[in-house]
Amino acid sequence: MRIEFNTLFGVVLEQLICKHLTKKYGKGAKALDNVSFFIPSSGIFALIGRNGAGKTTLIRILSTELMPTSGHASINGIDVVSNSKGIRESIAILPQESRAIPWLTPRQTVFSYLLYRGFSFKEANKLASKALSRLHLGRYADTLNRMLSGGTKRKVLVATIIASGSKILFIDEPTTGLDPLSRSDLWKILKELKKDHFIFLTTHYLEEAERLADQIGILEKGKLLGTGSLQELRRMVGYEYSIRLSDNSEKVYVKEGKRIEGLDGSMQILTNGHEADRIASRLIKNHTKFSINPTSLEDIFYYIVRKPIYAGNEEGEDEEE
């Protein structure tokens, strides 16, 4: 059972808490609409949603860049809305579409960011070298950023924020535009980092969230539709297995479960373990081709939002994504 308190018997709980967070840009639609949730501030929390769902707005509020129209948020007992100075020491953000400055080298990028954060020259030098080595960027340390590949540039930015020693990292769509190899490289780094950091990640790659996250939140049109581990989300949906049939015309009797049309037009059945067993036996008997898998995050997302993640969000255009 979870307890929603900042403190318990005087001890500050390591949690991120959002209470009724709402953000309106001008007279437009609400980019965030009464978002409330609490999660442990450890491991990786991945916020998923389509473009314009409100992910960037939420991450910008939590990282003290943006004021909410109403509501509160706190991390480890520090109110990020009213006490932004108090939390900035412990956080660092890698914004969406951030780019390594082309006329700087990786070493200069990390070093100058550390000076911005108030470190001495000596400390900044030492920490920059350490962070670059940790991300295996040592051999590129003195090459101009503009000469580096897209994946390496992104790693330079990750090195920049981890060098600060901040234990809470906000990373907004870190792998957008990266090739599969660079993406998997960055995933390895994030997996390593989550051992001693709390990473609040936004992504619209469901595979990324599924592979990396300990906790997942689903945001749609500014509303939070669910949070929890993948297993908890499966339970929330109520179906733990997904059966796909390539032949749409196949007649399958579904006693307990939901029959939906998959993203590729195939027939998909979401159901529980017992019913999945029964349907699978019947399909085998009929020599019908099918696949059966635990319900994926993509299935859950599609089931909850009723739209594929790659579809645009027309009503969320006001959001800065």
Binding site: T64, E65, E97, W103, T105, Y113, Y116, S120
Partner: protein, 246 residues
């Protein structure tokens, strides 16, 4: 952790000036080119008679252009690299970041200042009071152009638009007004147009300080008042419009 404010300011100087100059040495002559070119043309056309006035004019131009460039640089770092977003979420304050950026513009213009100050030391004959007056004029022009740069950076968020703004405003403030020559070269009805630019008043003060023109105490007071009031107003508007935490 104890914050070192000077280091925080120096970070902006590194990013926006020193690293650019170190990694791309071509930038060293960038700021030098425009003021020196106009200085040479005016000096040649006037057969050398306007050399000292032109050197002072080139110093004013360098100072104003540097300050106005701030708007493009702030916008570039904020919108194209998201550096400002990273800084907002860090322990750096808005004041420290902006002060560092403002200083970085002077550092970036150092090659121009170095050459122009050497030329001034050789060709401009001013009393000690005159030299202080010129330095004060340069300081107020720096404040004016920095305030203008901050203000413009809050208006436009697109780098192409910002570069266009920089070019237009620098020309309006430093090439068209009589800063490389005295205002007496402009026919009377058009002088009123020249007085629309604060740089005209600044140039008049400096030209008076080196004896190229002779202003009454009242005219001098009006000139100082105009440049100080305009700079103060721009600063107030820029501070009001500035959004550090949006």
């Amino acid at each position: 952790m104890r914050k070192n404010r000077l280091n925080q300011m120096y970070a902006s100087v590194l990013v926006n000036a020193i690293y650019a100059m170190k990694n791309y040495p071509i930038t060293l002559i960038n700021t030098l080119l425009a003021p020196i070119s106009i200085l040479i043309v005016i000096t040649l056309v006037s057969h050398g008679s306007l050399l000292s006035v032109s050197i002072i004019g080139a110093l004013i131009m360098s100072m104003v252009s540097g300050g106005v460039s701030l708007q493009a640089d702030l916008s570039h770092l904020k919108n194209d690299f998201r550096l400002q977003d990273m800084i907002v979420s860090s322990p750096t304050s808005a004041l420290v970041y902006m002060a560092g950026m403002a200083i970085s513009e002077i550092v970036y213009s150092l090659p121009a200042f170095l050459v122009l100050f050497v030329l001034a030391a050789i060709f401009v004959h001013a009393t000690l009071l005159g030299a202080f007056t010129i330095l004060a004029v340069l300081a107020i022009m720096y404040a004016f152009s920095i305030a203008l740069g901050f203000l413009l950076s809050t208006i436009s968020s697109d780098i192409i638009q910002n570069w266009a703004f920089s070019g237009i405003i620098s020309t309006i403030l430093t090439t068209i007004p009589p800063i490389y020559y005295t205002i007496t070269y402009i026919p009377l009805p058009y002088r009123y147009i020249a007085y629309l630019s604060p740089t005209t008043y600044a140039a008049e003060i400096a030209q008076n300080a080196i004896g190229s023109i002779h202003l009454s105490m009242l005219s001098l007071a009006i000139d100082w008042a105009v440049v100080i009031i305009v700079s103060a107003i721009l600063f107030i508007i820029a501070i009001k419009k500035n959004k550090w935490r949006e």
